[in-house]
Structures are given as C-alpha cells and as structure tokens.
Amino acid sequence: MADKVTLAKALNMALRKVLEDDPKTLLMGEDIGKLGGVFRVTDGLQKDFGEHRVVDTPLAESGIIGTAVGLAIRGFRPIAEIQFDGFVYPAFDQIVSQLAKMRARSGGRVPMPVVVRIPFGGGIGAVEHHSESPEAYFAHTAGLRVVSPSNPVDAYWMLQQAVQSNDPVIFFEPKRRYWDKAELDVTATPGPLFESRVVRPGQHCTLAAYGPMVKTCLEAATAAAEDGTEIEVIDLRTISPLDVDTLCASVERTGRLVVVHEASVFLGVGAEVAARVTERCFYSLESPVIRVGGYHTPYPPSRVEEEYLPDLDRVLDGVDRALAY
C-alpha cells in the first residue's frame, strides 16, 4: 500500500528526486534553506544537498529570476521559489522580458529550462498580497508554460516533469491544498504533463477547473449527484498550453461547460476556455460557457474572502445557470 502524503510533502519528494537525479538542478528562493520554506516544501533539502544546490537568496524577486536566467545560460536547471503569489510582480519584468523570450530571441540557441514555483490562491485567511491568482498574466505570455496541480499525486509527478521540460514553466501550487493528503505510488508512470484529465465522468454538464478549485468542483459534483445531476469534472492541470481537445471531447458529450477559478473572471483563463470551446464545438453547446470566479476587485480582506472565492454553492449556481438554457 502506498503511503499517504500531503501535497507539500509530495513536492518536497519531487524536489529531492530531481536534485538527486540531475546535478545541474538547483533550488533558489527566500527562506528555502534552514527554514525549509515558509510552507516547508523544501524542508531538509539544504541539509542534504548543501548551500550550493539549495540556495537561500537575498529578498529580491527580480534577482531570483534574473540570476536564474544567467544560471540557465550556463547550463543549469534552476528551480526558483517565489514565496507568495503577490510577490511575483517585482520579477515580472525578468519573467516576461527575459525568461519567456530568451529562447526565441537567441534563435533557439539558449533554452531556458527554469521552473518558477509560486504558491497561489486564497482561502487561508492571509493578510493582503498572500492570496492572489496571477496565472493569466503568465499564460498570456508566449514562451512560458503554465501548470497547476490539484492534488498530491499530480504535484509529485508534474513538478518533476516541469523540471525536465526545456521550456520555462510557471508552476502554481494551490497553497490551501498543501495539507491535503493522498496515497502516492512513486513507482507509477505519470501521464503527459501538458494534458488535462477527466477526474469524474458525467453527462449533464462539464465543470473545468485547476489547482485549488478542482476539489471544490468535485465536491459540487458529489452534491449535484444527490439531486440527479451528473457533472463531469475536468482537472485542466495545464493552462498554457491549453488542452482544448479534452475540453471539447467532454463538451461534445455534455453540451454545457462551466469554468471555475479563483482569479477574477474578466480576461481570466475562463475567458480563453470559453472562446476556444465556442470556436471549436459551437454546435455541441446547449448553453453559453459560464464562468465562475473572483470579482473585479483587489483580493479582499480575509474576513470576506469566503464571499469572493467560488465555493460549492457558487459552482452549483453556475451549473444551474448553464442547465437553465
């Protein structure tokens, strides 16, 4: 029987594995050494791999990414940690102007096998700037790949696959799910990184989500089943590239699609999903694609975040709106 591990522990195991397997990998970030990261994702790694492979950095996010770019030019495979979603913006310039474009600008001569790990999303009662969902900014940028695991098993495999990718990968970790547990069989063979997955079959409506909202959608599907509504749930896993094939195959069965994310709806990932699905399988749709997500406000103070974030009821409200057509 496989052991049960938390999502944070699964990430820790994945990082240990890549550090063992590839001498060119190294971790860099704030407080990732002795402290083991504020979420303990890098716990114990500096002790075992040393300060040159698990590098505590100055508090400068642009510096983290900018030096990771330089290390990658030298042939390293840096895995950078941004401590919280809301702190990635000082690094935005280096990510968008350099990390994303270096390969293309160099005519393919300089690959950028860099992973940027970012704990993201709300629901943990945090102070401001610690609960944001900035994934659309990065997915909008050509040259980057953007993924987000929803569970410990995916976290373990997807992080290793992201490190193996020769493209820069922005790896969004669902921080409120860090302590979720699942059985992890490290001898299994993972599926491809850049594919979405149907995690619950259903025939009446499709729910698509990624990261922290997958669990919420699965709970919504369970609740809906009690009322006789069979919801199919897709864990997108990858945001860029978007796996439109899996989405359309599902919509061709169900005729309805609701996209859920914590990020604000306006120009969010759901907007792109809606546009793609509408273009590709318009005649299969029985209703418009419905988006459920955050509002067009700054992330609110934590005492009202429950009203801001999609929960089971808001997801089902979205499903009801789709089914009303």
Partner: protein
C-alpha cells in the same frame, strides 16, 4: 521650451585612472598599468578605428532606411575596446544594446549587429559560441544574468572541488541603468555570493536627455563601497587605462576576490539613437569640449609621435575599415526578411499545440494569396 543648460557633471575633481592623456602623452602608474608591444598598441588602434567606421556606416544605413534604428557608440570606442580586449577567451560578457565595439573584440560579425537593428532577428549570434550574450534592450536586465552566470561559475567550482582560476564575467551597463532596481540587486547578489563579475559602467553622461544629475548625487563608482566591493573611475576615453583596470578587475574576480565596479568616464558624442535629437537638451559647446578628449586621436598621436606606427599603417587601417564598411553595406542590404512563419520556430523547445495551430493558420492565410491577382 525648457532651458538648455551647460551641465557640470558631479564628477569634477574625482580621481581618474589615466595612462594616456588626451594629448597622447603616456603616464605610468604603480597601481594600474599595461606593458604592450608596439604591435599590440597598433592592434588597439585598429579595433578603435574599425568600431568607429562600423558606427559611421550603421548611422548612414539607418538614415537611408536600411536599419530601423542604430544606437551610436561614437565617443565610447576606448571604453568598449579596452574592456573587450581585457577579457580572456573564456570570460563571458553581458552587453547592453550599444556594445558594438565589444562585439568586435569578441569576434562577432558586425553584420549580425546590423541584422538586429535592421529588424530581421531579435538576437543574431550564438552567445555561447562567442561568450557574448545577445543584446539586452531592457535597461539593466543583463546585470542579473551576468551575476547568475558568475554564481554558476562558483557553483561549478564547489561541485568539482577545483580551485583553479577560471572564468570571470563582465556586465555592461550605463549611467542611466545605475538607477534600475535590477542593477542594484545585481550588486547585492554579486557581493553576497562573491560572484566573479566585473560591473562595467560606461558613464557617457546622458541617459537619452537626462544628465547624470538625474541619476546620482555621488560619483557612480563610489556606490560600490556601499555594496561591499571596490569601485574605481577610469578615463573611459583612454583605451590603455580601461584595458589595465579591466584586466586587473577580471583577474581579481577569477582569483575569488569577488565583484568590482568600474566607472568608465566617457561621453556619448552622438545621439542616444538615430531617433534622438540631442540639440533639444544639450549645448554644442559640451560636445566640442569632449572632442578634445577623443579616444582615437590620442592613440594615433601617441603611436605617431613615438614612431610606433607610420603613415602607411594609418592608411592601411583606413583602407581596411573602408573595405569592411563596403562589405557590410552590401551584405546588410542583401539580408532577406525572415519567412513570416519562422516567428513560431523557437518560441518553445518542445511541441506546443497553440503555436502549431497558429503557424498552420498563418501559413494557410498567406498561401491563400498565392496566384491571386487581388
């Protein structure tokens, strides 16, 4: 219209390492000096002359519509040639977008520089073949790349257990960039990680229209002290002094003594780029003042006066420069525009469905015009 005032840089009276005066007189120092053969001296003159001729040709090509833009290096030839020639073959340079003279010393075909500014590529050369990164337009970004690369040198040493001298890295930037967060972060990181990097600031007095006073209250080289490493100011128009101090700084970095800041005090004699009009913000008298400190004339004067080169040598260099310019002009004008669908080629290393789809879509759209008389 705002007043155009003559500006007195916050530099006056500061110590300047100089080995060749503007009049071409050789000065010797105990701390920094060079001992070059006549042939090496002539080689530096040749580098300087070729860099200037390249620049003249590029400006002309831009004026004739063959380049989209050109940032002139006029006046900064010594800073670039001196620092470029200070590098060992294994050293690695991270340039801005104006380092044409450095590029020549790294054996980058100047046609590649023209291709970049013609708009046929956003890169153009293999950085790891020349140990010369591709040009960086975003001000200051490259300083962090240089530090990361230099940290990698240290990490590789830590892993291999070798303590031998190996590579040093040089990061180019300007007085304007010294205000950027990335440059200041680069200073901090280099200091904390004891990275083998030399920060080479070409203080050309102007960041487009903004004089040095808009960037700093103290001489730039003095900033290094606050970051925990040495800084010095060198006469950026003196190729010998630049060569001497940069060699020393690179050697020091290779030996594990960490970063150093060199402020090459120079002057941008031309416009910021071909899109700029410096007459709106600075006086012609300032340019006249700096013309007396020309980086090439002093070498010529020194070589000639000391009979290290004769008129035949200078004539031969001029002919060679002219030949280069003629070749570059012809080859630049013959550069083909890229195939439109090639923009998709290197966005990702691995297959990406959206890119594949859009490439096919563009190709199909373009093909729809084939044979059409529209």
């Amino acid at each position: 219209m705002t007043d155009v005032v003559s500006h007195v840089p916050p530099s006056a009276g500061q110590e300047l390492v100089q080995l060749l005066t503007p009049e071409g007189l050789r000065v010797h120092r105990d701390d920094y000096d060079v001992d070059l053969s006549d042939e090496e001296l002539r080689g530096l003159y040749r580098d300087l002359a070729l860099a200037r001729r390249l620049d003249v040709e590029a400006v002309a090509l831009q004026r004739q519509g063959e380049l989209g833009l050109w940032p002139s290096l006029l006046g900064q030839e010594a800073a670039q040639v001196g620092s470029g020639r200070a590098m060992a073959a294994d050293d690695y340079a991270f340039p801005t977008y104006r380092e044409h003279g450095v590029a020549l010393t790294r054996d980058v075909d100047p046609l590649k520089l023209l291709a970049f500014y013609r708009g046929v590529t956003n890169g153009g050369w293999d950085p790891n073949e020349k140990n010369f990164a591709i040009y960086t337009i975003v001000i200051g970004n490259q300083c962090l790349h240089a530090v990361g690369y230099a940290m990698g040198v240290n990490f590789d040493h830590a892993r291999s257990g070798e303590a031998d001298e190996s590579q040093a890295v040089i990061a180019y930037f300007g007085d304007g960039a010294s205000s950027q967060g990335d440059v200041n972060e680069a200073f901090i990181w280099a200091s904390v990680f004891n990275a083998p990097v030399v920060f080479f600031c070409q203080n050309n007095q102007w960041a487009i229209s903004e004089p040095l006073e808009k960037q700093t209250k103290i001489p730039l080289y003095q900033r290094a002290q606050g970051f925990g490493f040495p800084g010095l100011r060198v006469d950026g128009n003196d190729v010998l002094a630049v060569l001497a101090v940069t060699k020393a700084a690179l050697r020091r970095a290779r030996q594990g003594a960490g970063p150093m800041l060199i402020e090459a005090y120079t002057y941008r004699m031309g416009a910021h780029t071909t899109s700029d009009d410096p007459t709106r913000y600075r006086l012609a008298s300032e340019l006249e003042h700096w013309k007396l400190k020309d980086p090439i004339e002093r070498v010529r004067s020194y070589l000639f006066r000391n009979e290290k080169a004769d008129q035949a040598f200078f004539d031969a260099i001029e002919a060679e420069a002219e030949q280069m310019a003629v070749r570059l002009r012809a080859e630049c004008r013959a550069l083909p525009d890229p195939d439109p669908t090639s923009i998709f080629d290197h966005v990702y290393a691995e297959q990406h469905a959206l890119v594949d789809e859009e490439r096919a879509s563009m190709a199909a759209y373009l093909d729809s015009f084939v044979g059409a008389s529209h």
